[in-house]
Subunit: 427 residues, 2 copies
């Protein structure tokens, strides 16, 4: 791991630079598949599933028999664990419900704001050897609480034409409307345009490889919203001399095993701690099954020594980490002043994996510095806020002239007329 001592502010942007991704040359493939799915619907879906997933399917819908089989295939202890996690995620996201906000801004002018569910949402769950059923919980639970009517889940089939039992189990447990065996660009294209099998949706959520990422970006050009732009996962830990080096090393490695482009940073006011963590990382790395991956991303990662907490905080806010762990005696200082982070983990007994699975917070978070402007997925991600207003005769008499003056000054006479015509009747 690279140790950096007291970097100059002018070098921060270089020090904090994220591994870059180039996606330019994927775009043409994505556009071409989108066009094909738009024109040919399910026929195109079948072709690409056969081509990319190596399996030819008569139907892409997960049947009730398949669901039943999956419900039996998941071991009892894991079923219980998934239910415990679901309970916590439900508790935290249910608490995020907001009441209608109502204000009489002027006598007779009643304004209110209400949140209403996005009616149709599409959730993408990647395939691969490790089935990411935890992401199913993170997306379906808030969609249900928000009241989305149609919750469509897409995930690529394996070579046997099936989804991992854990994914089907979690999806069914949480109440997905339709589970569809389709992955990659073709899944996102299907959710964007709709096909005979795949419903068209208004917003698409979920992680994916760079093909899925570019496909989601393209979907927005067709008016479909997405949860947030994606990037490699990342973790920043701030720690002082009192922190536990082996705990921190285990957290850094849990992030590093995600992928070779994961980024892991330790910022510390203690050189001793930096040395200890570095040693511990080497030690713990040796026994990891995903050592090859973790080793590569640890290679890109940084241990940064800074002189004091104020400087550390400034540097962290400039970086805007997706996950931010605080192991410092000054934890309140960081909690109170962190401006840019996706999710914050406080103290020795709050590993990032708690939030990844079961504490109740959402694990779909802004990477790549997007925490400066984007929220992680939360209950509001599945609804939109609408405003309402009702003005009485008294109300329009009270604010009518204000509107007339402003509309006239903006040169919009018909806007003024809409008020004048009413005032004339009332005066």
């Amino acid at each position: 791991m690279q140790i950096i001592n007291n970097p100059n502010k002018s070098d921060w942007s270089q020090v904090l630079k994220r591994p870059t991704q180039t996606v330019g040359d994927i775009e043409e493939t994505v556009i071409q598949i989108f066009e094909d799915v738009r024109k040919n619907g399910d026929a195109a879906i079948k072709t690409y599933t056969s081509k990319f997933d190596g399996i030819s399917l008569d139907s892409h819908i997960v049947t009730s028999e398949e669901i039943q089989k999956a419900m039996n295939a998941v071991p009892e202890k894991l079923q219980q664990a998934i239910k415990t996690a679901k309970h916590n995620i439900e508790a935290f996201h249910t608490a995020q419900k907001t009441d209608r906000i109502e204000v009489e801004t002027t006598q007779g002018v009643q304004c209110w704001q209400e949140k209403r569910a996005i009616q149709k949402v599409g959730l993408y769950i990647p395939g691969g050897t490790a089935p990411l059923f935890s992401t199913v919980l993170m997306l379906v639970v808030p969609a249900q609480i928000a009241g989305c009517k149609e919750i469509v889940l897409c995930s690529p089939p394996n070579k046997q034409g099936a989804l991992a039992a854990e994914i089907v189990f979690a999806a069914h447990l949480c109440g997905v409307t339709k589970i569809i065996k389709v992955g990659g660009i073709q899944a996102i294209a299907g959710l964007t345009f709709g096909t005979e099998t795949i419903p068209q949706v208004y917003k698409i959520f979920g992680p994916g490889n760079q093909f899925v990422t570019v496909a989601k970006q393209l979907a927005t050009k067709y008016g479909v919203a997405i949860d947030m732009p994606a990037g490699p996962s990342e973790l920043l830990v701030v720690a002082d001399e009192a922190a536990n080096a082996s705990y921190i090393a285990s957290d850094l490695l849990s992030q590093a095993e995600h992928g070779v482009d994961s980024q892991v940073i330790l910022v510390s006011t203690s050189k001793t701690l930096i040395d200890k963590v570095s040693e511990e990382v080497e030690k713990q790395l040796e026994v990891l099954p995903r050592k090859a991956i973790a080793e590569k991303s640890i290679g890109n990662s940084k241990l940064i020594y800074v002189e004091n907490d104020t400087l550390a905080l400034e540097l962290i806010n400039e970086y805007g980490p997706e996950h931010f762990i605080i192991c410092s005696q000054n934890e309140d200082f960081y909690v109170d002043h962190i401006e840019n982070a996706g999710s914050v983990f406080i103290g020795d007994y709050t590993p990032e994996s708690a939030g990844d699975y079961a504490s109740g917070t959402n694990h779909t978070l802004p990477t790549n510095g997007f925490s400066k402007a984007y929220s992680g997925v939360n209950l509001d991600s599945f609804s939109k806020s609408m405003t309402f207003q009702k003005i009485s005769k008294e109300g329009i008499l009270n604010i009518g002239e204000t509107i007339e003056l402003m509309a006239e000054a903006e040169g919009l006479q018909a806007h003024k007329n809409a008020v004048s015509i009413r005032l004339k009747d009332l005066k």
Copy 2:
């Protein structure tokens, strides 16, 4: 105006089709200007301002002398009107503040959600003959309430190198940090990359022509968030036989005068009302200063007769109007069941122009059917929600095994280790 009787559901998508925009050929110009601004900063800004706005400026910053001049130039009555509108917008957006949400999801597992302001925001206000100072209020007021530290406003200079006094007045009144005389693509590029004069921001808000729209889309590729995708403004009115035809005509026209691509729709369960509104529109149109514009967009607009409220509602939810006026004896039915709309105006005395200027609701709203997934601008648009968690020894003992089981099933051993290493110390 085109009258459509009882359209078949299968024809709805055709009937409700919005005027299309093609922006493909603009993209290359936008990319080129972005590259130039990124490389050459203020020098590029000056070049494009001279080229597109026809004025060569030594400095693009609005000085305190210019602000003073603007404060004196706006007539007293208009100043008062702007202050009244500001008061109402402030009242409604202040009420949208939310408290921190805290839940102990499991004994010893404390999770909370807090909203923190986006630190740096850029607001774009178009120029042209009619100065849209109302949009200044709609964007700066919530940015201030949210607590954004740096609020940068960009607007194109006129041929004399100045901004409209009303824009400078409103910006200063509401507390903009920096007012910059720069418009179009170059303004958005400047806010995206930062120049010597223009600060780099995290999120860009505000309306604009198709060049600005494409530039905002491109900004998202560089990691800058935007308020929402843009499209021509639109209004849908639902009304029954008891509604006031001349009020409705005045509302339709106030929307139609925005631009030739504005869309205006009346849905009614009364053929008599449709005829009356059609006549009234012709009559009122004659005396409008912006008749030429309104006439064209009225030409594209539709009066749709449907047999009952249920069908009307279904059609309106399929369209998802930006502005939705309800003049119906069944107003509660529509208020309760509207799923997709930006802002809703209820009753005879609630013209759309009330919300455009002074009722207190925001007028920056999702067009083009985006109300199916996007909120209009509101207080939350200027902050992001962050989650925090703090787990005690007891807490990790309570949920540790759940995390271990799930991490193992996902094949992520280092995630499991981060918990196991802590549990080992505690057991």
